[in-house]
Each structure stands twice: as C-alpha cells, then as structure tokens.
C-alpha cells in the first residue's frame, strides 16, 4: 500500500512540475508582453504630451489610457487628429504615426497624434492564431522592438462581453466582440464600457480642440474588398477623391475611395462625421498577415507580406489588390499612409485658407520605400530623457 502511495505521489509530482513549468514559460511571456514599454522619441515638432484621460476621466488609472502628442505650429491654422492602433494588429498605422511624431515640424496649424489608440489591445495578443508577440524594425542605431497587439481590447481590462453589443446611441445590434473594438464603439460615452470611454475621449478632443480633420489609420486583408483605400462619408468625399487622384498621378500608387455606409454604426468614419464638425477619413493599407489562407503568422510575413498561398490566389483573381512575388512590404504600407495623410492635409488646406495645416519633414511614399521605415526613428538611448515617452 505504502509503495503504491509513493508511486502515485511521484507521478503527481512529475505532472505538477511539468504543468507549472509550461504555465510559467507561457505565462511569463504573456506577462512581459503586457508590461513591455515601447519608447517613443518626441521629435522637434512635439510641444506637449497629454493623456486621453485628460479628455475622458473614466480612463484615468486604466490600461486603456494612452499618450496624446500635440505638435503645435508656429502659426495658427487648422487642426488634425491622427489615430493609429485602433486595431493593434495592423502595425503600419502605428509605424506611420511614429514617423510623424519623431520627425514632423509644423509650420501652420496643429497635429494631434494618438499612436496607441486602443492601448489595451496593444497589450493583448492572439496566441490561438500563432501571433508573434513582438516585431523588430531595423534602424541605423539597432532595432526598434514593438509589441504586436490584437484587434480587440484585452478581457483583463474590459469584461464580461455581452451576448450582443447594443451600439450607443443608435441601438444597432453588433457582434458581442465589438464591445472591445474601438472601431465599433464610436461616438462612445463618458460612463460606458471602457472602449466607449476611449472613443468618447477622442470625440472630446475633437470638440474641445476644434479639430478640422480626423484620420484613423488601419490595415485590411488583401481578400477583403475594403482595402487599399480611403473610406469617407459624404462630407469628406471631395477631399478624399482629390487626395486619391493626386497620389495616383504623382506618386504612382493606388488608394481608391470607398463610401462610408450610413447604416453600419459605430465606425469612426461614420460617427465622427455624424456627431461633430470634424471631417473623418479612414485609411486602409493592405496587410497580408491578416488574411486567413496564409502560411504561418511569422514576423517575416508581417514585415514583407510575401506568401505563396496569396500569390496563388492572386493568379486566380481572388484578391482585391495587385499582388506578386514582391508581396506587400511594410515600407510600402507605411509610405502610403504617410503620403495619403499629407495629401489629405494639402487638399483640405487648399479649400480652407483660414484653417491651413502645413507640415514639413515627413517623408512621402517613395522616400519611405527607398530608405526603409527604421531610417526615420531615433535612438531612445541617446535622446534627451525628457523627450522619451513610454507607451
């Protein structure tokens, strides 16, 4: 009997050690990812850094609070709000926003940039889909390590999900998961679920700062029809069309215009326009990493966008963008975002001379493709400490 007990104890101990080891190995990686701080070097144009909770008090002390960078120009002018990482698994948006923060110099008007709009989602991941936790961008001073997040906020920060998300204020029934998706919770409310408080904060920025243009940067699958485009409601469509035609003619890349559907609620390009004076635009750049029929979700696929299965589908005419052996490298996607944002500002300024926005020192498409994204980032180790902001 004693021998049998000792055998059971031995087996139990072995099981326990194995399971604890697996739990510690897996858990530690997730813990480190959630608490990893990415340094952002404020460039010469940054005049102040606020928190989103300054505009939406319900975010104070939560993981959803995030940095808001202000780049105020030498002269008065119009104001633009740029939001990235609304979906934290679409990193070209974040990389483009960082280029603006680290390099832009504003002559007229003000840039307001929120690089990690869904901050909670940037600390979440999708292990079931084999997402890498980080990716690295090569620079002249080493590599810049960046967290790869998820589409939705972490359930550690907002939970439980409802059976059906009832959109506020239209009461349209949306998928339960969209209660944690900051591109379904617009316009939000001060005392709603956490992600509604995030979008409410952005709406307050637009109202209090009298923002003229809001640009929400995204990425979309190559098999999704709304990709490689500018999504705009009626009130923004003229500027979007001119920007689309200009980048096509002058810079040689396609970014067509898609109308914002009036019956689908909660989207930034819909609700910002309907609930404020601001002109909204949502930019989509293709991201093969998010397509379903690809090989493993590796950092390489995330950065170069090359996948043999997508290539095969492209030859069968199943994709909504052109696709060949060169894939869709990150430089192209980030360069497109930079150029389209600059072109939107130029087109807006041409029509609103009293509210001009003039920005210098931000690279356009061809420069980003030629020099690489990392060329535009600064070394946080050699930068002034007061210029380095952890996000």
């Amino acid at each position: 009997m004693a021998v049998k007990m000792s055998r059971v104890l031995k087996i139990k101990s072995i099981f326990l050690v194995i399971v604890i080891a697996v739990m510690a190995l897996g858990g530690l990686q997730l813990f480190k990812h959630r608490h990893y701080m990415m340094p952002i070097v404020a460039g010469p144009g940054v005049t102040k850094v606020a928190k989103l909770s300054d505009y939406s008090r319900g975010l104070k002390g939560t993981m959803a609070d995030t940095n808001v960078f202000f780049l105020e120009g030498k002269e008065e002018g119009g104001k633009v709000l740029i939001m990235a990482n609304t979906h934290a698994n679409e990193p070209a948006a974040l990389l483009a926003a960082l280029i603006f923060i680290e390099n832009a110099e504003v002559e007229k008007g003000t840039l307001i940039i929120i690089p990690q709009f869904n901050h909670s989602a940037s600390r979440n991941t999708r292990p079931g889909d084999g997402y890498p936790l980080y990716f690295e961008i090569p620079t002249e001073w080493g590599v810049k390590k960046i967290r790869l997040g998820n589409r939705d906020a972490s359930p550690l920060d907002q939970w439980p999900d409802p059976d059906v998300y009832i959109h506020y204020p239209d009461r349209q029934l949306l998928s339960f998961i969209d209660v944690r998706n900051t591109n379904r919770t617009w316009p939000g409310r001060a005392n709603g679920p956490l992600m509604e408080r995030v979008t409410h904060g952005a709406m307050e920025i637009m109202k209090q700062e009298k923002v003229d243009i809001a640009v929400d940067l995204h990425g979309a699958e190559t098999m999704f029809p709304v990709t490689n485009c500018i999504v705009a409601p009626d009130k923004s469509v003229r500027i979007a069309t001119m920007a689309s035609l200009t980048v096509k003619a002058r810079e040689g890349f396609d970014s067509h215009v898609e109308p914002s559907p009036s019956g689908f609620r909660g989207l930034s390009h819909r609700e910002i326009g309907d609930h404020s004076e601001t002109l909204p635009f949502l930019l989509e750049a293709p991201i093969p990493f998010l397509d379903q029929p690809t090989g493993p979700k590796t950092v390489k696929l995330l950065l170069d966008g090359k996948d043999p299965f997508l290539l095969s589908l492209s030859r069968k005419g199943k994709l909504f963008v052109s696709y060949d052996e060169t894939g869709w490298p990150m430089e192209k996607r980030v360069g497109q975002h930079c150029s389209v944002v600059l072109e939107l500002l130029r087109q807006y300024s041409r029509r609103s001379l009293q509210r001009e926005i003039e920005v210098r020192n931000v690279p356009r498409y061809a420069e980003v493709v030629k020099n690489g994204v990392g060329h535009y980032y600064h070394d946080p180790k050699t930068a002034d400490k007061d210029k380095v902001h952890l996000n």
């Binding site: 139990k12 858990g27 997730l30 813990f31 959630r34 439980p160």
Partner: protein, 51 residues
C-alpha cells in the same frame, strides 16, 4: 472593478480550489490527474491577471 468581474474572479478561485482538491484526492486515474491540472491552467493565469 465591476461587481460581475469580482464575482468572476471569485468563481475562478472556487473552481480552481475544487480542481486542486480533486487532484489531491485522485489516486487511480493518471488521465484525470493530468486533466485537473490542465483545466487549472487558464484559471490560474486569469487569477494572476496574466491572460
């Protein structure tokens, strides 16, 4: 933390404790021993606010 979230963590602790208790009491089935521990993993990660 909303009440429902607090209740959820309390339920996690309760079910986790039951699983540990069953693991300790189990003397015969190796399968069951391993399964108790595996089912425990997500509950522990949630209680520790890791995932």
């Amino acid at each position: 933390m909303p009440l429902v979230m607090t209740l959820y963590y309390a339920i996690c602790v309760f079910i986790g404790a039951m699983l540990v208790w069953n693991f300790i009491r189990e003397k015969k089935s190796l399968n069951d021993m391993l399964l108790y521990l595996l089912v425990l993993v997500p509950l522990v990660l949630r209680i520790l606010r890791i995932k």
